[in-house]
């Protein structure tokens, strides 16, 4: 379930005689792996190296790339919109990822009981996560959080008037994107729910006998047992959040506005690369993103030994 358990478990030697010589099955393996190996070279490692090279050049697709050394990276340091996009993205990640875990966990806890219509609830909570990245829902969001949108109509019912457009207000626009992606919490919730069902009831009952309150039982038993799943959900949530694109692009009409308040890193990268045709600068931005994500992932895996509990530990 988690990345750490992904490596091959020790396999018992088969009793039947194997085909071919020795234990390895190199030729059949090559035959089965060829598409993937070709794809790795053509569509992953080749392009990665190419983009590393491009990040040291000035390139507009029309003339040949011109070597400029570290200039692109230096330019980033003094580019206010670059820093703005970093700020927007970090704010988004820091607010959205923890919020996503909390909401998912709360709903999963509510669903984790002998509830009637459980399958129905599960399906309905899950459904939005299949639509959260669609243009249709982002377009709907623009209406829902518009000046005459649903949110303001509801606020009007309780007497709060003249709130204005949410997507048009620099102070609130990022909040609408966070809500949009939070709306799709179902996939994270489903993983938590599956985990909650594995928590041994004996442990919880024993704690109850000892007089532990519900909250105490959650923090002392349930949550520690769920840490592998929390680890997985936070890791994937963070990686995805850094790359979030469609919601911000559609809600802001491609601009990252108003006044760059939703200028996600990926939006700015897209704008630099494909609107202004500064392929070198955009490649440098892509590599900065890669390095930041690698560092974040690395720290995360390192930290996991202090707070992630696997069941087989003594």
């Amino acid at each position: 379930m988690t990345l750490a358990t992904a490596t091959e478990p020790p396999v018992a030697l088969p009793t039947a005689p194997r085909r071919g010589r020795g234990r390895t099955q190199l030729l059949p393996a090559l035959a089965f792996l060829t598409p993937w190996l070709v794809g790795m070279v053509l569509f992953t490692f080749g392009p990665m190296l190419y983009s590393l090279y491009l990040s040291f050049t000035r390139y507009d697709l029309l003339s040949n790339p011109e070597w400029v050394g570290l200039q692109n990276y230096a330019l980033m340091g003094s580019d206010p919109r670059f820093w703005k996009s970093v700020g927007v993205t970090l704010t988004y990640v820091v607010v959205f990822v923890p919020l996503l875990q909390v909401v998912s966990m709360l709903v999963a806890l509510l669903l984790n009981s002998r509830l009637r219509f459980l399958t129905g609830y599960r399906a309905l909570f899950y459904l939005p996560s299949l639509m959260g990245a669609s243009v249709a829902v982002a377009a709907l969001w623009r209406q829902v959080f518009g000046a005459d949108g649903l949110v303001n109509a509801v606020l009007g019912l309780v007497g709060i008037e003249n709130v204005g457009s949410w997507v048009g207000d620099p102070a609130r626009a990022l909040g609408t994107i966070i809500t949009l992606n939070l709306w799709a919490f179902g996939s994270t919730m489903i993983i938590f729910l599956a985990g909650l069902r594995q928590v041994p009831r004996e442990l919880l009952e024993a704690a109850e006998v000892d007089g532990a309150s519900k909250i105490r039982r959650f923090f002392s038993i349930t949550l520690p047992m769920m840490t592998p799943l929390v680890f997985f959900n936070v890791l994937m949530g963070t990686i995805n959040a850094f790359q979030s694109f469609t919601g911000a692009y559609v809600v802001s009409g491609g601009s990252g506005g108003p006044v760059d308040s939703t200028l996600f890193y990926t939006l700015y990268l897209y704008e630099r690369g494909f609107t202004q045709l500064q392929m070198g600068y955009a490649s440098a931005m892509a590599w900065v993103l890669l390095i930041v994500l690698a560092v974040v992932t690395g720290i995360f895996f390192r930290s996991s030994r202090y707070w992630v509990h696997y069941g087989d530990e003594s």
């Binding site: 598409p35 509510l110 009637r116 899950y126 249709a136 594995q198 990686i239 469609t246 559609v250 892509a286």
Partner: protein, 302 residues
């Protein structure tokens, strides 16, 4: 798949000393259950209301699109749906066909390439297997933006921009590492004794893959197909880059362009097309609800 079967009921449960404490009055439990349902329904209502409202608004005449909070209306019309297919210079029937072509291409590609790769990782022994599987995991975590620009440049030089090829062909080379991972995890749960008996009966690796592993991997295959469908159908960035001419646009691109030129008067039409664009997702979801929800729960896929 233990999600629905957790804690099998114990038929003859020995009364335990603490039962007296855990058994609360029945009335209390009923009240708690009602509160739980009420909270869940409230959350669901808030979540799904915008979607329902959009569907409602798509059936209203143009001048009533924004008729307040209500889902319903005095008059219903299909006019928005009729208008939507060819609003302005847009051509949605074309876009739906394009989206379908690209989506089917990606599904076929992912199924073929990822299952072949997964079989090798799950069942064969070869040098550097752990390192190579580590690369599968690494590409899963790799931000797509790192390869975005060079891929665009390469496809541009190959003359593939403005064709479906950049959006479909890479999937025949197992670029979606997620699905390799998913299928490897699944195939590992299948008993190896079946492979062995097939081998004794004279099956080669291809025979084992095609006649034994694939038929037993239908849940993993279904999950892969479903998720590829959703990702391909929703994708905006890929089509935005590779499909500049409107003849090749997908539904996502069409909606995005429509949104840019929409005034208050055409919002109803936009909602009609947005509703239609979500319909296949809902349809597939209903058709495969159990598979999807349990597949995601057991593999951790988003």
């Amino acid at each position: 798949m233990t999600t629905t079967l957790s804690a099998p009921p114990q038929p003859t449960r020995v009364p335990r000393p603490w039962d007296a404490r855990t058994q609360r009055p029945a009335g209390n439990r009923v009240v708690k259950g009602v509160i739980k349902h009420a909270v869940l329904l409230c959350v669901l209502l808030i979540m799904l209301y915008p979607l329902l409202w959009m569907v409602g608004a798509s059936f209203r005449p143009g001048n009533q699109t924004f008729a307040g909070l209500s889902l319903f209306s005095d008059t219903y019309t299909l006019q928005n749906y009729a208008d939507g297919w060819s609003v302005g210079n847009l051509n949605f029937s074309r876009y739906f066909v394009n989206s379908a072509i690209i989506t089917i291409g990606q599904i076929v590609g992912n199924l073929v390439a990822c299952s072949l790769t997964a079989y090798a990782f799950a069942r064969l022994e070869f040098p550097f297997k752990r390192v190579l599987f580590g690369m599968v995991i690494a590409t899963m975590l790799l931000p797509q933006h790192v390869t975005l620009i060079p891929k665009y440049i390469i496809f541009n030089q190959m003359g593939w921009v403005d064709t479906y090829l950049p959006l479909t062909v890479p999937h025949f080379f197992a670029v979606d590492a997620f699905f390799i991972f998913l299928m490897v995890q699944f195939i590992r749960t299948l008993p190896k004794s079946l492979d062995e008996s097939a081998r004794i009966d004279g099956c080669g690796h291809w025979g084992i893959f095609w006649r034994i592993i694939m038929p037993m991997s239908l849940p993993a295959i279904g999950t892969t197909a479903m998720f590829t469908f959703v990702w391909a159908w929703n994708d905006l960035l890929g089509p935005l880059l590779y499909l500049p001419s409107s003849d090749l646009w997908t539904v996502s691109l069409g909606l995005n362009s429509f949104l840019d030129q929409t005034g208050q008067s055409t919002y109803g039409t936009l909602f009609a097309m947005a509703t239609l664009s979500l319909a296949p997702i809902v349809g597939f979801f209903i058709a495969s609800q159990r598979l999807l929800v349990e597949g995601i729960a057991t593999t951790g896929l988003k």
